[in-house]
């Protein structure tokens, strides 16, 4: 850039608009006063210390991690097949199939949540972490498919053909040729889908029954002003974790693309 233009200035302002609101959570999580307002009374780590003592919170955390893990692995596995089908093969109704898989992105959350609740009860499945996971796989699938599709886009099909020509079988070829090349995409997909599930609220709110995930737990705490500092501390940890996951994903993606294709 030769000179800082108005556009650059606007971009920086916009970044401030994106970041400032989110940064208030960690800022006030160190405030010793219980009211979230300036001026800050004093600095403390008490709110963080108290988090470890709350059994329901720890339980909710494990619930979220479990659901996130299952949803990430299954949506990535299903997405891997679909992404390969969409990139590698041409078939009738392909566009419709791709559109269908992207549908969960654009259905309003409340409609997904209410209709799944009705469906699962109809099928005799009581609201629990299982139903939350089933719903999260549905929500995470479009993310998995689009990430993995771009991973397969970069993949040169002639590598596989060479492997077949050398007499290597289909599964062996997938393991030794395809998988190493698309591995960064798979890792990225797992991280993204995990985060999608980990942060999802509305569906979990409807489907979790008496097994709250972390966002459902936070929701139950938000109403009580006395619990506010705890929510701030917990929220700050979650923000930090999410950013850490993203940086990790980026690191893996770059490292492997450096030595890979």
């Amino acid at each position: 850039m030769k000179r800082p233009s108005t556009l650059t200035g606007y971009a920086l302002l916009y970044l401030a608009f994106l970041y400032l609101p989110v940064l208030f959570l960690p800022l006030f999580s160190f405030n010793s006063g219980t009211i979230v307002a300036f001026p800050i009374k004093g600095w403390t780590l008490d709110w963080y210390r108290k988090l470890g003592e709350q059994d329901t919170l720890i339980q909710a955390l494990w619930n979220s991690i479990g659901v996130g893990f299952v949803a990430a692995l299954l949506s990535t596995a299903i997405g891997l097949f679909a992404a390969r089908a969409f990139v590698r093969y041409r078939f009738k109704g392909q566009r419709a199939a791709e559109g269908l898989v992207m549908l969960p992105l654009v259905i309003p959350g409340i409609i997904v949540a209410s209709s799944m609740l009705v469906l699962f009860l109809f099928l005799g499945l009581k609201p629990s972490l299982v139903t939350v996971a089933l719903g999260h796989i549905f929500l995470a699938l479009p993310f998995a498919v689009s990430i993995l599709k771009s991973a397969f886009d970069d993949f040169d099909a002639s590598l596989e053909e060479a492997s077949y020509d050398l007499g290597v079988g289909v599964f062996e070829t997938f393991r030794r040729v395809t998988l190493p090349v698309v591995a960064p995409g798979i890792i990225a997909s797992i991280l993204v889908t995990f985060t999608v599930s980990f942060d999802e609220f509305v569906l979990a709110f409807f489907l979790s029954g008496n097994q709250p995930t972390l966002p459902v737990y936070i929701w139950s705490q938000i109403r009580f002003p006395a619990k506010l500092p705890n929510v701030l501390a917990l929220g700050s940890i979650l923000l930090f974790t999410s950013v850490l996951l993203l940086v990790l994903a980026e690191y893996f993606r770059r490292r492997s693309s450096g030595k890979g294709t």
């Binding site: 609101p21 097949f81 679909a82 942060d199 936070i218 999410s242």
Partner: protein, 285 residues
């Protein structure tokens, strides 16, 4: 392994995904439709078919009010978000040197929980909140501003913040696709920067703009968290009413009817929008 046709491989590999999504879209929809023709009195579900729920939903002024407000709020959010996002997408696609870094910077905040971001706005806009206390401390105002939280303004602001990257990314992609030689040609033909933007860049990014609008508008109509946390009674939307039917009011048939009607109105507005958007795009060209 037997060699099969490419089409057969395509079908079988994509089947788990399409069947899973297809089932979880179609089956609940069928059951919702069934529910919408049933009625609920206290704990008993009456499965005789009736149009009572539709009559109730269509004549209840509260339902109409919330439905229209949901659509207008979602529309306002869409316009504000896309208008604010376009220059950023343009900056990243055309001017910025480190595109990946910028894209990363734009997406990082959205890896944090949606619930927490909305909650942050509640803290900022509150009567005794961050914004008011800061303005009071700086001596810019004498008493706390009361119009910040619990109204439609708060809902639009919060949602516009929450959906920002979803507007930036599709527009960025469509800007990236523009062939630079088209821009050079426009300049060679004597267009200035503004004309070039209006005649070449903007029309070519209309698909991206339409995508951004749909990606924001459709989910926003049915947003639950934001109106519940920052909307107050003046900012409630249709999703809050639907949740009440499935929760405290325990009237699932009415809830199902409202869900279906919300879906239909969203679909209708979206289709009208896509058609007019495409027409407009052709006219500019």
């Amino acid at each position: 392994m037997i060699l099969r046709s490419d089409a057969a491989k395509g079908y079988s590999l994509s089947a788990p995904a399409t069947i899973y999504v297809g089932f979880l879209v179609a089956a609940p929809l069928a059951i919702l439709i069934a529910y919408s023709f049933w009625t609920q009195t206290y704990v008993t579900l009456d499965k005789s078919l009736t149009l009572k729920n539709y009559r109730e939903a269509l004549t209840d002024p509260l339902v109409q009010h919330l439905m229209l407000r949901s659509i207008w709020i979602a529309g306002a959010v869409t316009i504000v978000t896309v208008a604010l996002a376009y220059p950023i997408a343009y900056f990243i696609a055309m001017k910025a040197h480190k595109k990946t870094i910028w894209l990363l910077l734009i997406t990082i905040p959205f890896w944090s929980s949606y619930l927490l971001r909305v909650f942050a706005w509640k803290l900022i806009l509150g009567f005794n909140g961050v914004m008011n206390s800061a303005l009071l401390g700086l001596g810019l105002i004498n008493e706390p501003l009361s119009f910040l939280l619990y109204n439609e303004f708060a809902v639009v602001l919060t949602l516009a913040h929450a959906w920002a990257p979803f507007a930036i990314l599709p527009i960025y992609v469509s800007l990236q696709k523009i062939d630079p030689s088209l821009l050079e040609a426009a300049t060679d033909l004597g267009n200035n920067a503004f004309q070039r933007f209006m005649r070449v860049t903007l029309p070519l990014t209309i698909p991206g703009i339409i995508a951004a609008c749909l990606i924001i508008f459709i989910p926003t109509v049915g947003d639950y968290v934001t109106p519940a946390l920052v909307g107050g009674s003046d900012g409630k939307m249709i999703a809050n009413l639907i949740q009440v039917q499935f929760g405290a009011a325990n009237n699932w048939p009415l809830g199902a009817t409202l869900s279906l009607m919300a879906m239909l109105s969203v679909g209708f507005v979206a289709i009208v929008f896509v058609i007019t958007g495409n027409r407009l795009g052709r006219r500019i060209r």
